[in-house]
Symmetry: C2
């Protein structure tokens, strides 16, 4: 079995040597830039692990792994335009470094490129791989649209929130693993199990992010604590709090959400909303749900009839993603 570090190295090399035309530079330079910003390359690593879990040859899966990463970066590029985000991995976003039109079009070209890479899988897996990839791509669009819709909605339920993060984030993790499994000729049943493992892991991962945003040690987390609270982002914590508070507590929460505050009151807002979360025990509820999803993920992994030692890399990766110091 190949170590995750070795996989990451291979993926890095493939991304660097990815064949991209040079002209027009205004189309292809933003793609190179976006792919050079780095990241943990979790999706392609999952894809390669999916192949090795079922005794496939990792080299048969490399193009698809790069395809998944290019696709993921395409979605980030277009999301950054929609969110009007100034930075991506501490560097200017494409639409700021160039402009929105160039960002739209180089994103489109990136998507085409990802489809071309997915086509390089062996014949036996071609239809199944491309079908799950395209179905997932459509779901990711749906998830991003729901996320935008929810910004302006007052009554988002927990259930709809979970649907949104499933589509926007989790299905691509499941898809990566399933594509890897299909390349290795896994049975439909096993491919489904590894897909469900990835989806549940992705959901748990997103809930952890929601918790970390409020309760993380700032230095370890690497971003400002309370960012979600300040932007009134509808996270699992906020939606649970809105759902379960009543009377004065709910009034106070709504007040903090609806008033525009000056930046010197930011700390007050984060502290006040965190206090409300604490009094309702929303952190514990989020962690309970997270653990439940994590358990569900591992139930699917357990159901796959291959030796435990083969599952170890996936297990370790999942643990490293999920058990972070809060």
């Amino acid at each position: 079995m190949t170590s995750p570090a070795k996989m990451q190295e291979l993926i890095g090399i493939q991304l660097q040597t990815l064949h991209l035309q040079t002209e027009p530079a205004t189309l292809y330079d933003p793609i190179r830039y976006m792919l050079s910003l780095g990241g943990k390359r979790i999706r392609p690593v999952l894809l390669l692990m999916g192949t090795e879990l079922f005794d496939g040859n990792m080299h048969d899966a490399l193009s698809a792994a790069i395809g998944i990463e290019v696709f993921h970066n395409f979605t980030l590029l277009h999301d950054d335009i929609m969110d009007n985000a100034p930075l991506r991995r501490a560097k200017p976003t494409v639409h700021r470094k160039w402009n929105s039109n160039i960002a739209i079009l180089s994103g489109d070209a990136m998507f085409v490129k990802s489809c071309q890479l997915m086509m390089e899988v062996p014949d036996h897996a071609l239809r199944d791989v491309v079908n799950v990839f395209q179905a997932t791509a459509l779901e990711v669009c749906e998830g991003q649209q729901l996320d935008m819709d929810y910004e302006n909605e007052t009554s988002v339920t927990i259930e709809r929130y979970l649907k949104m993060i499933r589509l926007k984030t989790a299905v691509l993790l499941g898809c990566s693993l399933k594509v890897g499994a299909l390349i290795a000729n896994a049975t439909e049943e096993d491919a489904q199990h590894i897909y469900d493992f990835g989806v549940n892991l992705g959901l748990a991962f997103q809930l952890q992010d929601d918790v970390l945003d409020v309760y993380a040690d700032t230095e370890k987390f690497g971003k400002q604590v309370g960012g979600d609270i300040l932007s009134n982002k509808k996270t699992y914590l906020l939606l649970t709090a809105l759902n379960q508070s009543s009377g004065l507590l709910k009034e106070e929460l709504l007040q903090w959400i609806h008033q525009s505050i000056s930046s010197d009151k930011n700390v007050d807002k984060v502290q006040a909303v965190t206090r409300i979360y604490n009094s309702l025990g929303v952190r514990e509820q989020a962690e309970k749900k997270m653990n439940q999803l994590y358990q569900e993920a591992f139930d699917h992994l357990s159901a796959i009839p291959v030796s435990s030692s083969k599952k170890e890399p996936l297990q370790k990766l999942a643990e490293s993603l999920l058990i972070r110091d809060v």
Copy 2:
């Protein structure tokens, strides 16, 4: 053989009954809207004709035909954002009727949908069809980027202009025909001939559009004569004029291009620039080039070893597109 009218009817029905999810409405309603705006559906008709030319079953090619039309409409949707166009076929563009973010994302989803439709071709043609489709999709992105680049460039040569319109417009016509041919199991050589027929036809068609914009009978043409002149669009005519004028004439032309004029001087500008075009004979040169491309297209059609009667529908369609009353 199926009549073009029958083909158009079939395509219309397929587009109307195209399976699209309903939720989120903000993602899928714009797609339905875009596809409902109509159009001549030339690309899917060409695709079906490509199949029938080589004795293929048109019904094997219907999904791909719809895929090409959905793809074409996706490019229009994103182009409209980039051009900040208010209207498309006399109706509000998606980014005006909804907003830019929704237009970006529903465009992305449309592109995924077009890929899914292309995947529905019979197994024997799958790889070849998807490969030519995706290579073309990338070229269309390049063409649109070149078009945007040229807006800010002072020295666009005729050669580069032809490259741009080839990528932006012509290759998709060639691709449509080639996909149809591949579905009908045409030889690689014949598929290439029908591709080249489409590309040359597309180029000729674009040059005709450049000529019509200046010299058409307004009522028959259906849009304002001189629109390209007023927007300083770098057409075949303008680039030829810039290339061939000198001294006072060139100075006058540059003056008209660079000065911002009030709308009551629009007629003056169109008349003055047309006069310069006439004195240089650029219309005749454009028509000469157009006829040359048209001839080249038909040379490729002639090279295909099937009976003339089989070629008749394509020939008639080409003539109907190209011989318009100027």
